[in-house]
Amino acid sequence: MNILSFFLKKIISGLLVVFGVSALVFFLFNLLPGDPARMMLGQRADVQSVQSINRELGLDQPPLKRFAIYINDLSPVCLLSKDPQSFIFADSAKYGETTQLLSFGERSIYIKQPYLRRSYQSNRLVGEILVDSLKGTFILSIAALFLASFIGIPLGVISAVKKNKFADHAIGMIAALGMALPSFFAAVIIAWLFGFVLSDYTGLEMTGSLYRVDPFFGPVIEWKNLILPSITLGIRPLSVVIQLTRSSMLEVLSLDFVRTAKAKGLESRIVLYRHALRNALNPVLTAVSGWFGSLLAGAVFIEYVFNWKGIGKITVDSLETYDLPVVMGAVLLVSCFFILINIAVDLLYGVLDPRVRRSS
């Protein structure tokens, strides 16, 4: 099997999963009780304005039709109509710039950006709101993962090489503790200790986002605010990386080709890094990539405790005001990222491990 069809297969199955996720999200949130029109207008709204809002949002339509419109809105390739009365009227206020591909009279197939609806509260485009906050979460997660990999992999290797010695026990202890530490508990402790008690020495604050709005210069990047949240977020992945690297390394070190490498007369350092580590990294890579997806979502508590502006915080804030489109958008966005990362990792596997290219 060549790399291109491997690539295509992964992408097709990824698209299928994206469709499934969109369907699940739609039905999940549409099954939920709660009347968006009332939420937007407040409880004392009159029947007429509720109805008009419902019509505007298309909520008076049957669920399957609403689902079809929803998918049409999300899909980059979509069917739109020139008729302003139609549900799929090519409204530039919704879809922004569109490019026509094929035309069947009134209706045409267009390419556009996915349209995630508008916030019930601020009436801003959900896409815009999310892209704003995604940056914060993204940087936070990347920082945490870098921390986890760059500390975790060497510690895991040391632990495997010094098996059953003191260093191994100590590192194993750290990993076990990190695995059991609830993220919000860690967040509270770390914020309190380094941002409050030791604040004078560390110069860090308990809360803060990546951007600080300066009254004169506008948004200013505050890198130091990244330190505490990313350490907190990195604790669990760090422990996972340590444990995985250790067990994977131990397994690889017992394989025949390591003996072959030794029989060649290679130094143990070279056997370790050139021959063993490269083989041991695959499961670690899967774990790290898997964590990236769950970190995007799992940063909720850390964002909440450190008051960090990100997807999690936006979601929690939106939930307080029942702003469903934002929540749905956030769920979809994170899911798509997760799927995208998985595809990317599968492809990276193909590069790292020559066996994968052929067997799958």
């Binding site: 029989a263 491990d353 020559p354």
Partner: protein, 579 residues
């Protein structure tokens, strides 16, 4: 006394505090000579070879006594057993090289073959990248790898097992070592490939004048490559000497047993001799009646008349199993969207008949489709087309539940006794389970009695009933599998490489057991194996398979005496030395 290239003296290797894997062995190796170390699993032969390279896992392994004196290139005598890690590294791969049993796992899967060979050259010969590449390709040519340039850049999974072993050999001889240690280098390979590799090693030895230590469990291989042989048993050397002398006139009863219990193409025996014919082991002593091998063979030989009579009675019956035009093609999908299909023709248009009470041998190399055929007959795999008639019933037309009832009459014994027993079931349970499935015997009490009866019939004990599989040796497990297969009183049993994972001495016992059971209960066997000698010993008729097709079918003696197809001829020629 002349300087030996390598002199192992009183070497003792212990694992942990209690287990002595190698117990005070001594032997010598000269320049240009091949010493074979032969022994069954657990005899300590691999530990010996790894000790010379100082590659035993430590802890728990440790050389506790003895010396390994090596006369190095500079003409100095060094004791490899007492060198420190840095010093021994200078010898590894440089002056002493090693090839291993499993070519599949002995190469690093994420590095190219060429890189792995060049690595040794760059390390010991201090060549630069370009020189190392040129030298590696030269080596690949020398070990007769096709398209050396392409293989240089291939990953191990892209080439065949035999080619991998050639890459390993190229790696081993890259620095022109004085000693080559080959630890069962051909065990995992097909017999034709084995013959080529042995030939290659011989040629290389002549060219480079290396001393070779060749470790194997197969006496035949020793006969075809080694000048001297060391026979090991339970960590000790029981006999050492010139190959010719030892094979002609073995002194130690263990050696005699080992030589005798190996099925050979030349003889026709009623029963294989076993080691217990020659010796029985007490606590510390060995009790050995002095039996002459040749006389012993004589007493066990079947006469031609007897064979002819048996054939006539067997073939006058109605066939029990009739296989007609069986095909088993597995689709492989290719290209975009898996549209174009190609097929692996695992079994391609095979037909034969089996008579009641007969043993039909099925022989072929790995990938020839013999296992697929066996499983297709039992409908563990559905055939692509063809008809299988068992006891007058077309079993392909049976529904799932009818087929399950039919399975009472047909059983299978697998190759790997380690994976064919459920690790979480006591062996009593495992044997009773098929009885329960077919509701044989009225209740569990009678089933248990029956099971104990079966255990005793396969030379196990009643007290083994409540034990778990991990407490048994490979041979015992295979007996348990046999007991389980005959628990439902079948007529027909397929033995799929059932003795291939066993040591020769255990193999002889299991083969004898199978024959005893056949004579007693009138079983019909299909005996599948890659080993021509074993198949010839077991079967009344045999089939040679190659690439999914039947190459040749007939009586074993006829096929051996005068093979019709080229493939069969090649197969017979590849079988290592007749003893």
């Amino acid at each position: 006394m002349a300087e030996h290239l390598l002199q192992v003296d009183n070497l003792t290797v212990q694992f942990g505090k209690t287990f002595t894997a190698v117990d005070g062995i001594s032997f010598t190796l000269e320049k240009g000579q091949t010493v074979g170390i032969v022994g069954e699993s657990g005899s300590g032969k691999s530990v010996t070879s790894l000790s010379i390279m100082r590659l035993i896992a430590s802890p728990p392994g440790k050389i506790t006594n003895g010396s390994i004196l090596y006369n190095n290139r500079a003409g100095q005598k060094v004791d490899l057993a007492s060198l420190n890690e840095d010093a021994i590294r200078g010898y590894r791969g440089n002056e002493i090289a090693m090839i291993f049993q499993e070519p599949m796992t002995s190469l690093n899967p994420v590095l190219t073959c060429g890189y792995q060979v060049a690595e040794a050259l760059r390390l010991h010969k201090k060549l630069n990248k370009k020189e190392a590449r040129a030298k590696t390709i030269e080596l690949f040519n020398k070990v007769k790898l096709p398209r050396p340039e392409a293989i240089f850049d291939s990953y191990p999974h892209e080439i065949s097992g035999g080619q991998k072993q050639r890459v390993m050999i190229a790696m081993a001889i890259s620095c022109d070592p004085a000693i080559l240690i080959a630890d069962e280098p051909t065990t995992a390979l097909d017999v034709t490939v084995q013959a080529e590799i042995i030939q290659l090693l011989k040629e290389l030895q002549q060219e480079h004048g290396m001393g070779i230590i060749f470790i194997t469990h197969d006496l035949g291989v020793i006969a075809s490559i080694a000048q001297r042989v060391v026979v090991m048993h339970r960590g000790k050397v029981v006999e050492e000497g010139e190959v010719h002398d030892i094979f002609k006139n073995p002194k130690h009863p263990y050696t005699r047993g080992l030589i005798a219990c190996r099925p050979t193409l030349g003889r026709k025996l009623r029963r294989l001799p076993t080691i217990s014919d020659f010796m029985s082991e007490g606590e510390r002593t060995i009790i050995a009646p002095n039996i002459d091998i040749q006389n012993h063979f004589q007493s066990l030989t079947i006469s031609d008349n007897e064979t002819k009579e048996r054939r006539n009675t067997l073939e006058s019956q109605v066939p029990l199993l009739k296989v007609e035009n069986i095909r088993n093609w597995f689709p492989i999908r290719k290209g975009f969207f898996s549209l174009t299909k190609d097929y692996v023709k695992a079994v391609d248009d095979v037909s034969f008949e089996v008579y009641p009470g007969e043993t039909l041998g099925l022989v072929g190399e790995s990938g020839c489709g013999k296992t697929t055929l066996g499983r297709t007959i039992l409908r563990l795999i559905e055939p692509t087309s063809g008809k299988i008639t068992f006891k007058g019933t077309n079993i392909n037309s049976l529904t799932a539940s009818q087929m399950r009832a039919m399975r009472k009459h047909m059983q299978i014994i697998f190759q790997d006794p380690y994976s064919s027993l459920n690790p979480r079931m006591t062996i009593g349970e495992a044997i009773m389970e098929p009885m329960r499935v077919h509701k044989l015997h009225s209740n569990d009490k009678t089933r248990k009695e029956k099971t104990i009866d079966l255990l005793e019939r396969v030379s196990l004990k009643a007290e083994h009933f409540n034990r778990y599989p991990h407490e048994f040796s490979g041979g015992q497990r295979q007996r348990i599998c046999i007991a389980r297969a005959i628990a439902v009183e079948p007529e027909f049993i397929i033995c799929d490489e059932s003795v291939s994972a066993l040591d020769v001495s255990v193999q002889a016992q299991v083969l004898n057991l199978l024959n005893e059971l056949r004579d007693k209960f009138g079983f019909t066997y299909i005996f599948i194996s890659h080993d021509l000698a074993v198949v010839k010993f077991m079967s009344d008729r045999m089939i040679v398979m190659n690439k999914g097709k039947i190459e040749e079918a007939g009586y074993p003696d006829d096929i051996y005496a005068n093979p019709k197809s080229d493939y069969t001829r090649k197969l017979i020629a590849a079988i290592p030395g007749e003893i």
